[in-house]
């Protein structure tokens, strides 16, 4: 696999660690969370394998291009619209969470409109960037932040305040029957790779997904899921973990650097994750933008002016929806709709994989 695919995967995993995901996992902590997470881990590796395998036949082509070649336009338009909205919501969900976090922790006196506009302006710039530049941005941010992130994770695991008895207690619920919502929420950690439906046009080299890659994705997923689920339990306890809205913020607020530059680790944590969240939103919206661009394509060749107008209209639509929803949504809505969204997402992923499988067969025949 190309290294950029790993970046896509990891950025999605990290951004989801603090968004709505953990709370959904904890809400089912006594109703089969662990078994579902283990199943989702294996299924997550499987969908990654399937995706890379199916895209192997079309190296250097994005999904809209493939659809153009093998499918009629009236079939491809609804497919692109559905996928476009799914990716848009993925970004929006992260956006809402982070605006919420910023307002609560970093700038409590700022108006929601100002915070949101700051986000949206920067992200819009990212959305209309070239796909290639997005990938390079991704790499740059990773190189800069990785040392801090590693330091932070080590700090977490070796923190004397973690009580491993609570972790063991959480594990004692392993024999409960699995739960679908937890399964799909966990599966969402693995869909970062699916961004290649657009970025594949830049990945000209044939990608291999062998045992080595599978093991790596498996270990990465297992580590992320373990950290996401068990570390907050070790720090915040098991019996009332469901009460926390953002368990990860509270977890990092409970970690102390005795002689650090600042004692409250939560601010370092927020900054690292804010950068990754920016990336994640940008990538999701970029993918969504590219998909929608292919929906609204009147003729094969459009004039430059037409393209500019289309970009502007799409961007304004993105903004309007984001503003409208972010200002209205309460935290309760956010978690309810997020769980609906995750449930839908895993169905869409399976649908997308079967579509790719069919396209693959068409391409071969």
């Amino acid at each position: 696999m190309s290294r950029f695919v790993y970046y896509l995967l990891i950025s999605n995993m990290v951004a989801n660690m603090i968004a709505a995901g953990p709370r959904i996992l904890f809400s089912k902590s006594e109703q089969g969370a662990i078994v579902s997470m283990i199943i989702a881990l294996f299924f997550g590796v499987f969908i990654n394998w399937a995706l890379i395998k199916f895209f192997n036949a079309f190296s250097g082509e994005s999904l809209p291009e493939i659809l153009d070649l093998y499918v009629k336009r009236w079939i491809s338009i609804p497919i692109l619209v559905v996928l476009g909205s799914i990716w848009y919501i993925a970004g929006l969900q992260t956006l809402i969470t982070y605006v919420d976090l910023l307002l609560r922790f970093l700038a409590p006196e700022m108006s929601v409109y100002t915070t949101l506009s700051m986000f949206i302006v920067v992200i819009s710039f990212g959305v209309i960037m070239k796909s290639r530049s997005i990938l390079f941005t991704l790499e740059l941010v990773f190189v800069m932040l990785l040392p801090f992130a590693i330091y932070y994770v080590i700090k977490l695991y070796f923190s004397p305040q973690i009580s491993w008895d609570y972790v063991r207690l959480a594990m004692s619920f392993i024999d409960n029957p699995p739960n679908y919502t937890v399964f799909s929420t966990t599966l969402f950690f693995f869909i970062g790779t699916f961004d290649i439906i657009v970025f594949n046009s830049l990945l000209k080299k044939k990608m291999i997904f062998g045992l080595k890659e599978a093991t790596f994705v498996f270990l990465l997923g297992a580590f992320t899921i373990f950290t996401t689920y068990f570390i907050p339990i070790g720090v915040l306890g098991f019996d009332r973990i469901k009460d926390f809205i953002y368990p990860w913020i509270f977890t990092s607020d409970s970690i102390r650097m005795k002689f650090g530059v600042i004692e409250r680790v939560v601010f370092i944590f927020l900054l690292i994750f804010l950068a990754v969240a920016f990336l994640s939103i940008m990538i999701h919206w970029h993918v969504s933008f590219k998909l929608f661009e292919n929906v609204f394509r009147l003729k094969k060749s459009m004039t430059n002016k037409g393209k500019t107008i289309r970009t502007c209209i799409l961007l304004v639509a993105f903004w309007v929806v984001a503003f409208f929803i972010t200002v209205r949504v309460t935290e309760y809505d956010l978690f309810t709709y997020s769980s609906y969204y995750f449930n839908l997402m895993s169905v869409v992923i399976v649908g997308l994989l079967s579509l790719l499988w069919m396209l693959n067969r068409r391409a071969k025949s």
Partner: protein, 374 residues
């Protein structure tokens, strides 16, 4: 055509720059408009039946550390039906914004630990700006008295109530440190009781004395741990160390300086999964710091034996007393819950079994030297 685009561009830039003028300035209130709360004290209220009296210790700003000989504080208190309400009223007593983000010690009156704890601690956890790594401590005779103590050793820009805890200045096995998040975690969990340090003061009110602690439970009155018990709690559970282990037999009296201590335990269950015995193994490593007689390096093993027996005895007494008081500061119940697959009656089984559970304590003290002389 080209001129037109340039004109449009210039207009857009001018417009954007014009927008800057509409901004009212910083949304953030400057530091001179804020005042920093150092510690919060909570006492029972006289006016309200179920209310609280909240006292704030506020650090007063000074020009430079060199010019001020002593730190200066202001104290304000107010009573209210809830902690939040009292703090809201206190906001009207000062001319600046009360900043609680740097508040690091919450001091609670001893009597309040029994029943109301959950009710008023809620306020501190729910507010996002209050640190979860704030220290929580119990106070005797009252939180207000403790907050108003200004120890003579306190230097400007270093708050005594911060230095006492968290091992940032003094590290002593007599001082228990409990963070806000730990208190919440252990207080709400089944199978463990949280322990808070107890702050006292002397008659002149110029010293802060912390060497006792309190075990709190949701069901019963708090249990005060003595100095020795506090030390054992701290060194067994948290691995605290120091010059504090007095060991004696008929002729010899030595003081151990323990540099490493560790406790591991196993819960032995009978056939129907009920807990029967708790096997506790204590491992300590250190040197001899003081003795009333001449010591011999060759006799280190003898001293080891003597120290092990003493530690074993003291620890056993401590466990036994906790059992009699039916509190569980070590979290044996939590461990029991976590060593088996979850059943709905597991907490009941433990609650029934704990009063009769046996303790088997083995201690292994490993002394490495007799200090600098024999």
């Amino acid at each position: 055509m080209r001129n037109a685009t340039i004109v449009v561009k210039v207009l857009i830039i001018a417009l954007l720059l014009g927008v800057v003028l509409l901004q009212t300035g910083c949304a953030f209130k400057d530091i001179d408009k804020r005042i920093f709360v150092v510690a919060v004290g909570i006492d029972p209220s006289d006016k309200f039946d179920e209310g609280f009296k909240v006292t704030l210790k506020i650090a007063l700003p000074f020009g430079s550390i060199k010019t001020s000989a002593k730190p200066s504080y202001a104290y304000i208190s107010e009573e209210g039906a809830s902690v939040g309400e009292a703090i809201r009223l206190l906001e009207t007593h000062v001319d600046k914004v009360l900043e609680l983000g740097h508040m690091k010690t919450i001091v609670i009156h001893e009597e309040l630990l029994a029943e109301h704890l959950q009710e008023f601690m809620d306020y501190f956890v729910r507010r996002a700006d209050i640190q979860l790594i704030a220290y929580v401590a119990a106070a005797r005779p009252s939180a207000e008295t403790i907050l108003k103590v200004e120890p003579s050793t306190e230097a400007p820009a270093s708050v005594a109530l911060f230095n006492l805890f968290g091992d940032s200045a003094i590290e002593s096995p007599f001082i228990v440190t409990t963070y806000l998040f730990q208190l919440r975690r252990d207080h709400l969990a089944k199978g463990i009781n949280s322990v808070l340090p107890l702050i006292e003061t002397n008659e002149n009110k110029d010293l802060l004395i912390v060497n006792n602690s309190v075990v709190i439970s949701r069901k019963k009155a708090p249990v005060i741990l003595s100095i020795v018990e506090t030390k054992y709690y701290d060194s067994l559970l948290k691995g605290s160390t120091g010059f504090t282990y007095q060991v004696e037999n008929d002729q010899l009296k030595v003081l151990l300086d323990i540099s490493k201590s560790k406790m591991s335990y196993k819960i032995i269950k009978s056939k129907n999964q009920t807990p029967k015995t708790i096997e506790i193994h204590i491992k300590m490593k250190g040197i001899i710091g003081e003795s009333n007689k001449k010591l011999y390096l060759s006799k280190l093993d003898e001293y080891n034996d003597m120290a092990s027996k003493e530690v074993q005895k003291k620890a056993y007494e401590f466990f036994k007393r906790m059992q009699e008081e039916s509190v569980d500061p070590f979290g044996f119940g939590l461990r029991y819950r976590s060593t088996q697959l979850h059943r709905s009656d597991v907490e009941k089984v433990w609650a029934n079994a704990y009063p009769t559970v046996e303790f088997k304590v083995t201690a292994d003290v490993n002394l490495q030297s007799t200090g600098t002389t024999e």
